[in-house]
Amino acid sequence: MSRFTYLFKRVALSIPVIIFGTTVTFAIIRLGPLSPAAAILGPQGDARAIRQIEKRLGLNDPLWEQYFDFMSNLFLFDLGQSWVINSGTPAIDLIISYAPRTIWLGFWAVLIALGIGIPLGFYAGLNPNTFSDYFASFGGIVWRAMPNFWLAVILVTVLSQSEQLFGFSWTSFIVETNVVTSPNLAVLKNPTRLLTDPGQAWTNLAKATKQILPPALVLGSASMGTEMRIGRTAVLETINSKYVETAKAKGVSPRVLVWKHIFRNALIPLVPVITAEAFILIGGSVLVETVFSINGIGLLFFRAAEQGDLPLVGTLMYLFILLIVGLNIVQDFAYTIIDPRVGYDG
């Protein structure tokens, strides 16, 4: 099977998944106890006003008709307008304005997890049963065991009082920032300013990075622990494999042995862990953004779901599902690149 037909097949197969996911979203919002009309009006809305709004939003139409509209609009990317959160604004505009902060958070969370978890795991695997291995492995387990929400709250508390606690002030460290706030990403939207107005722009970038690091650490923590553990096991297994012994018998130097013969093979079991990380990020961002008050997609999704803003929730879910399905396809392609045994026939 060629690469192209394989891709086509994968995309075709993912359509039922997308339909199923969006249907479930619709069912939960529309059949659940949420009333968008009540949410729009707030507590003082009377019954007549509610009925009026329900009529305007088409909430009294037959359910199958609403469902059909909802689904066909999604698939045509006619994503509708927000009902509650920011009534009348196109859902997609809202998402675009919230997205950068979440992407910035996700980027650092992935970077921290990959950049610390995998090297640490590989290091532990190369030096098994030494003190540093035990230290790293134990640390990884503890780190993995700390729940997101708990870690987030603790980190916020500690960082905002670091002056009193350790005599070291996180808020004034390098650049002046708040612990709990949305990072200002204006500089990223206009990166040429890094050249035209270096003084101001670099400070802003430093601020945005510094602000995102604690929440990114929290968000990446679970994946970091998992990657460490799997990386360690993968390296250990690879080291004891016959082909590594054969390479040794060929007189390959330890450096080449590690970088060429061990690492690439050890990466194979890490591929699904890395893609799974993306899924964890989507879920975790809701929580972390709430604790750190970051105006991102996670926070938006949480509020929209709470208030029955069907077009917004539907759109977000639809995009999440597309993202996950897309990542799965990317993951399978990553396999075929790293591991030549994986073909396109599966």
Partner: protein
């Protein structure tokens, strides 16, 4: 069999001791092994799993890692050059350069994520300084030499695209890439079916005649030994118990263990309908030998076997046929053989065999020996109710840390 200029054999292993340290004790995986290999000659090393044959191979390759250790008194000389004292860096040029190794399992001895060509070229770059297209065309040449059809195309294929036999050929090509003087084959055909096995054995023989290399061939299969080896060393529990030219060994085995091994080959005993087997497992020795390691399984053992460690003595017709068993020298009464072995207990391997030839013994004692008649049968009863030696009876079986047989 041709000697190198200085009269040294190609490989001279002398009193090799490789031990593995575990928390509680040390495991003597290889315990005083000595043998030589000449150019153009194949030495077969045969034994059950746990007998120390794979550890012997790894010791020669310098691939014994912690917690394993080659004891100081050991000597491994290649073309007269001592290998045991080399630094790790110096050893790397020997490994793959002067000595190459073919492992048991062709399915897993190639790295799955690189092409076969890539892995052959790696060896060429390391040991022959070749690069780029030159290395690639040499790799194709090597694949062709080991009988891989359409080598120019297959050089770019991955190991999983090769069949088992083809893979083992590719591994052999990789081993030959650096023009080794000595090729160590660790059960290279065990994982292959019989026809492929025969092809690979033929290929090895062809390569040997063509390149005049020495081959050390490790196997547990007596049938394979009969086919490939010029001389054979039989290993048991970390020691060589019998050494002989191959025809001599098959025609005239002396050590009870060798006799047992040969009896367990199908077809050699048409009179019995059940294949005789040697009961029990290979013991795992922890302490220096003060008894015969085979005593717990030996059908001919007697009391003395539990307290005297046999040394190698010349047996049979050929001068380089020796066995380490208290029953020999044959023309001596048992009491005398025991004293001989006792006196030579501290010696092992080659020197011991030289020291203990029957000819050195005073004529009258030898005569006395003739009166007593051949040894063995009557003593075996005494052995039957004798207690097992404490450690040999403990059938630890496979070595945990080091031996990777099967």
């Amino acid at each position: 069999m041709s000697h190198t200029d200085d009269g040294e054999p190609l490989l001279a292993v002398d009193n090799l001791r490789t031990v593995f340290h575990s928390e509680r004790e040390e495991i003597r995986a290889v315990d005083g092994v000595s043998f030589d290999i000449e150019r153009g000659e194949t030495l077969g090393i045969v034994g059950e799993s746990g007998s120390g044959k794979s550890v012997t191979a790894r010791s020669i390759m310098g691939l014994v890692d912690s917690p394993g250790e080659i004891r100081e008194e050991s000597s491994i000389r290649l073309d007269g050059r001592e290998l045991t004292t080399l630094s790790e860096k110096q050893y790397r040029s020997v490994r793959g350069g002067d000595i190459a190794m073919v492992f048991q399992d062709p399915l897993s001895s190639l790295n799955p994520v690189y092409t076969v060509g890539n892995q052959i070229i790696e060896a060429l770059e390391l040991h022959r300084g070749m690069e780029g297209t030159e290395a690639k065309s040499e790799a194709i040449e090597l694949l062709r030499a080991v009988g891989i059809p359409d080598a120019a195309r297959r050089v770019d294929e991955f190991p999983h695209e090769f069949s088992g036999g083809m893979r083992q050929r590719a591994v052999i090509a990789m081993a030959l890439a650096c023009d080794p003087d000595l090729l160590i084959c660790d059960e290279p055909t065990t994982a292959l079916d019989v026809t492929i096995q025969a092809q690979i054995l033929d290929l090895l023989q062809e390569i040997q005649t063509e390149r005049d290399i020495g081959i050390m061939f490790i196997t547990h299969d007596m049938g394979v030994i009969a086919e490939v080896a010029d001389r054979v060393a039989v290993m048991y529990a970390g020691e060589v118990v019998e050494k002989a030219p191959v025809e001599e060994l098959f025609a005239n085995p002396h050590h009870p263990y060798t006799q047992g091994l040969l009896q367990s080959i199908p077809g050699r005993n048409p009179s019995t309908d059940r294949l005789p087997t040697i009961e029990g497992d290979v013991p795992t020795p922890h302490e220096s030998a003060s008894y015969c390691r085979f005593v717990s399984r030996c059908p001919k053992g007697f009391d003395e076997c539990e307290r005297v460690h046999p040394a190698h003595v010349e047996v049979g017709e050929s001068a380089d046929h020796t066995a380490a068993c208290l029953l020999y020298p044959e023309d001596m009464p048992t009491d005398d053989t025991v004293t001989h072995h006792e006196e030579n207990a501290d010696q092992t391997g080659a020197e011991a065999s030289e020291a203990l030839s029957a000819d050195d013994w005073p004529a009258e004692r030898r005569k006395a020996g003739e009166d007593t008649g051949p040894t063995g049968s009557e003593d075996s009863d005494a052995r039957a109710d004798g207690g097992h030696s404490h450690s040999a009876g403990d059938t630890g079986g496979q070595l945990e840390g080091g031996d990777t047989d099967e």
